[in-house]
């Protein structure tokens, strides 16, 4: 059975169930329909054969990732809008700039997904604020050695994600 056929079978047998599952997570039928669709699109793009022993667990795993992406976008936009609301009007970036920055933040947030909070924070202090390792160590109350290790770990983590397709 080709990969395309198996996605088709999955679709006809489990689409309704997946839609309901997503709906219970999102509380919104339109988003649930979109993400159910995206889940199957994602499966069609896979090059390898599908593992069909436990199709629902499998679908749930893919869909869960999409739900988290969806929420991440929402939370980023929400936090960003709040931060903007504290700025004086004159300093507020243009709509265009906001959109670009948000897009960039999403890319970075996705990349940093899975890092330990301290590793993530040390890395962001360096990348966003341009703080020196020493300043980061002081601000976080940890040793310089730890800061160096955290930042190197975070970069290596991003490196693997960025280049994993080519490995």
């Amino acid at each position: 059975m080709s990969s395309q056929d198996s996605v088709h079978t999955l679709y006809s047998e489990h689409h309704g169930w997946l839609h309901n599952w997503l709906r219970s997570k999102l509380g919104n039928a339109a988003d649930a329909a979109d993400l159910a669709q995206d889940t199957f699109v994602r499966l069609l793009q896979r090059r390898d054969q599908l593992q069909l022993n436990t199709p629902r667990a499998f679908l749930r795993t893919v869909a869960r990732g999409l739900v988290i992406d969806h929420w991440r976008r929402e939370e980023l936009a929400r936090a960003y809008c709040e931060a903007l609301s504290h700025l004086p009007e004159a300093q507020a970036p243009s709509a265009e700039t906001r959109e670009l920055l948000l897009e960039l933040l999403e890319r970075i947030a996705r990349m940093l997904d899975g890092l330990k909070p301290k590793v993530r924070r040390a890395f962001l202090l360096a990348q966003c604020e341009g703080l020196s390792h020493k300043a980061i160590a002081e601000q976080m109350g940890i040793s310089l050695r730890s800061v160096e290790r955290y930042i190197a770990d975070a970069l290596y983590h991003c490196y693997q994600l960025r280049y994993e397709d080519e490995l």
Binding site: E75, L76, A79
Partner: protein, 322 residues
Amino acid sequence: MSAAQPSATVVKQAIQWMLRLRESGPDQRLQRKCEQWREAHPEHERAWQRVLSLHQDLDLRAIPGAGLALHTLETSERRLHRRQALKLLGGAALIGSASWLSKDLQLLTDWRSDYSTGTGERRSVTLPDGSLLQLNTRSAADLAFDARQRLIRLNHGELMLTCSDAQANGRPLLVQTRDALLEGVNGRFTVRQRDDCTQVSVSAGQVALHGAGSSALHWLDSGQHWSIDAHGPRVVEQPDMDAAAWADGLIVTGNMRLADFVAEVARYRPGFLSCSDDVADLRLSGVYRLADTDALLELLPQTLPVRLHQRTRWWVRLERAA
């Protein structure tokens, strides 16, 4: 190709070099040592280039408006974790997620739109009536097809519509923007929502422009370009670019100001692209491919007295060549 991949050990070494150089500030001795390490083996150089490029992509300091980045990333991460814990791992607590968001913000609209595109993306959709809707980069549109009308709302960005009456059933085909209500009679036209106006270019056929009052109706003919704002519609005699070329993946300019060209190219790439005042009024005519805007920019110094100043992959500025 796997033989060409730097090993984990070498990548980690490259990261160490990069961080040491960044921390030390200008230090020629350290720079020389790093260069020696890079030259010692091609694998070292490959790893170095990749780490450098990655580091530039993740460097938020150079980007205007990034002051809010740290706060935004940290706050959203905390909330995301809470939501995951609540809804995915734990119980059945349900909160309508959409109601958390203020819907009036323009930057949120694409997530609510029926069709949208990201930066550099183009999308074609065959509509239920057989018409072809094409969305240009960073655009969003809603569809409202019912028994009375076939309405497309352009929320932002640009679309091209190739009209079809196959399933019209007497319903008008309408495109609504902030400034105008357009009716495609036949043929093909592009509509672009700009900050201060709506631009319409008719490639073939005819478009009717419905005025704010019921009486005013303008006919926009094939080959014409119009601009519509609060003061009403006016014909644009000599546009400086081909309004429909993007559908073929091109920018085609005729005596266009460099500053306008740069603003145009910026729509298709993430990050910030700008030019200095002393080159803004240079003019250019030509055909440029949108598929690779990096390559497009690199072509410019060959025909204009400009150079690319690239601080990161996402921060590029055109300046006068020395």
